[in-house]
């Protein structure tokens, strides 16, 4: 009987549990998680802070999930070391657990830059339920907050705090918010929507120092910006990004680039050791190489593929790419692939912009293929484009139709329609 050990019980770990159980209902299965309730939807911590969700409604899987899948869930425990030669995981620095197949699904940890005052009470990160609980407990006594980082996580934190009625300043070091996933036009639209909802957006600057309150120097009272201006606030949320939690494989034979490098079976450079999700550098179908892609759907899918392979069912990971959907501030956006290329002249760009309806669509083509697109305001057919991009379909023939109202599956050339869309 195979013994499986999974470190991390979130998107990736859960995907692996489900896949392993499809193939092997009997094998011993242990999940180690330092979070007590790991099966919540991490992106929903923003709903938790805005009080639109409770711990109960944000569960990604039911409480009996572990039991139903015959998993020994060691929640509230930390995996402290891995001995790859002996195939052992050390738990809480004490006992050891042996494995035949191991999955590292430890995710990412929030990146906090060196900044004076970052240890003050009232400074939070925004990646775990525990930080959301900490923020939620302080919101009531707070009048204003500064969110550092204008990416997806920062925007989600800003929305949650605005919904709780406090004054929010969002600080982004680059010139544009959401600059990794939006182009200038889309970013400007997003910035306007945030501003209209009461968020003060400051770009091109960062926070250099966090100040204490006059009477309570250990509690957040404000921040100093790089240009020296001061903003008073009661909360600081550092939401710059996540870095892979690779500590467990440090100085081991497991190959790490920026994340743990895995092959198309999600296996690391060490046999019987797999990795997925935010900690891993896995296949990207657009660049046809490995890349860090810290996204929920990819963590889950990678976990599933790892699980199948661990249980002996050979399965190849189809990969992912930069792919985000946003709903914050009621601005629906789907953005996939390359949207801000360095050599824009290598691309053919199709654009439709209807400011009065807040609809913006942009498609980037290279060698007749879709390499990236942004759909803002009107999302319905985005999935068709995603499929065309993923399958690297040559769209030269139908290029002029792509942005037309009538575009759809019906507009695809007959052969393509048969190949891709007609019922399998």
């Amino acid at each position: 009987m195979t013994k499986y050990v999974i470190i991390g019980g979130s998107a990736g770990g859960i995907g692996a549990v489900e896949a392993i159980r499809e193939v092997d209902p009997a094998g011993e299965l242990v999940v180690i998680s330092d979070e007590k309730v790991p099966q919540y939807s991490r992106p929903m911590i923003s709903e938790y802070v805005s009080r639109e969700a409770t711990l109960d409604t944000m569960k990604y899987r039911a409480d009996q999930f572990w039991k139903d899948n015959n998993v020994q869930a060691l929640t509230g425990h930390v995996a402290t070391k891995i001995d790859f030669a002996k195939k052992m995981v050390e738990l809480d620095g004490k006992q050891t657990i042996s494995y035949d197949k191991l999955l590292i699904a430890t995710g990412g940890k929030p990146f906090v830059p060196r900044m004076e005052g970052s240890d003050k009470s009232g400074v939070f990160t925004f990646t775990e339920l525990s930080s959301a609980e900490g923020i939620e407990a302080k919101v009531e006594q707070s009048k204003s907050a500064v969110v550092i980082g204008g990416g997806l996580i920062g925007v989600s934190a800003a929305e949650a705090l605005v919904k709780r009625g406090i004054k929010v300043t969002l600080v982004e070091l680059k010139d544009k918010i959401l600059n990794l996933i939006l182009d200038e036009t889309a970013s400007d639209i997003a910035e306007k929507v945030l501003t209209d909802d009461g968020v003060t957006v400051i770009t091109g600057q960062s926070v250099q120092k966090i100040l204490g309150k006059q009477d309570k120097p250990d509690t957040v009272g404000g921040v100093v910006m790089t240009d020296g201006t001061q903003i008073s606030c009661d909360l600081v949320v550092v939401a710059i990004g996540v870095i892979p939690r690779t500590d467990l494989v440090k100085d081991s034979a497991v190959k790490v680039n920026r994340g743990i490098v895995v092959d198309r079976h999600m296996q690391t450079s060490v046999a019987d050791v797999y990795a997925c999700g935010d900690v891993a550098e896995a296949h990207d179908f657009l660049i046809n190489g490995n890349r860090l892609l810290p996204l929920w759907p990819l963590a889950h899918l990678g976990g599933r593929v790892a699980g199948y392979n661990m249980a002996g069912k050979q399965t190849e990971y189809e990969g992912g790419t930069v792919m985000s959907s946003l709903k914050y501030f009621d601005l629906p956006v789907i953005t996939v692939g390359t949207v801000n290329p360095q050599n824009i002249s290598d691309y053919e760009v199709l654009v439709e912009y209807k400011p009065e309806k807040t609809v913006y669509k942009k498609i980037l083509l290279k060698d007749g293929k879709i390499e990236g697109f942004i759909f803002l305001g009107d999302l319905e057919k985005a999935g068709i484009f995603f499929r065309l991009l993923k399958n690297s379909v040559d769209v030269t023939e139908i290029k002029d139709m792509l942005l037309s109202e009538d575009f759809g599956i019906v507009a695809l050339p007959e052969q393509l329609r048969q190949e891709m869309f007609v019922v399998n």
Partner: protein
């Protein structure tokens, strides 16, 4: 591409492309079926939030086609869902959406190859074909004047 679901029998609505004349009645009947009142006038003119069709008729002369969720075997939307709102019902093999759990993050919209999931009229959650759970035969199939739609049990 990996196949994630074991073989099973399930229901699915397919379209005979040559028979679809693009009249749009499937959209109308879908909208009414998914309204609160199930009354055509009220559904279209009064109900708030407005009921939406989970079917889309696409026309590009001379072709037209009626599109809805195809119950994909590899369930891209289920794998991608951020909250667990989209699930594969192991009993029926159907991809089922739970509006209570949905937060309208649009991740499923991004990955559905048919463009068969869309934001509903509230803009807070998605709407997709549920094969009309209260009916023997889905409303669109029953009301297609040209019998272009077929609800079949497929042996996967």
């Amino acid at each position: 591409m990996p196949t994630f679901v074991e073989e099973k029998t399930m229901k699915r609505v397919t379209v005979k492309q040559e028979a679809c004349i693009g009249c749009g009645l499937c959209q109308v009947y879908c909208t009414i079926e998914h309204s609160k009142t199930k009354d055509p006038i009220k559904a279209y003119l009064q109900e708030q939030p407005k009921p939406v069709s989970r079917v889309r008729v696409e026309t590009s002369k001379p072709n037209s086609i009626s599109i809805r969720c195809q119950q994909c075997k590899d369930t891209p939307c289920v794998n991608a869902c951020l909250t667990g709102a989209m699930t594969l019902d192991k009993e029926t093999g159907l991809v089922t959406h739970d509006p209570e759990k949905c937060i309208g993050c649009w991740t499923c919209v991004m990955v559905c190859p048919y463009g068969a999931v869309k934001p509903d009229s509230t803009g807070k959650i998605i709407a997709k074909c549920d094969l009309c759970p209260d009916r023997e035969v889905p409303a669109c199939v029953e009301n297609c004047p040209n019998e272009a739609l077929v609800c079949e049990e497929v042996d996967e």
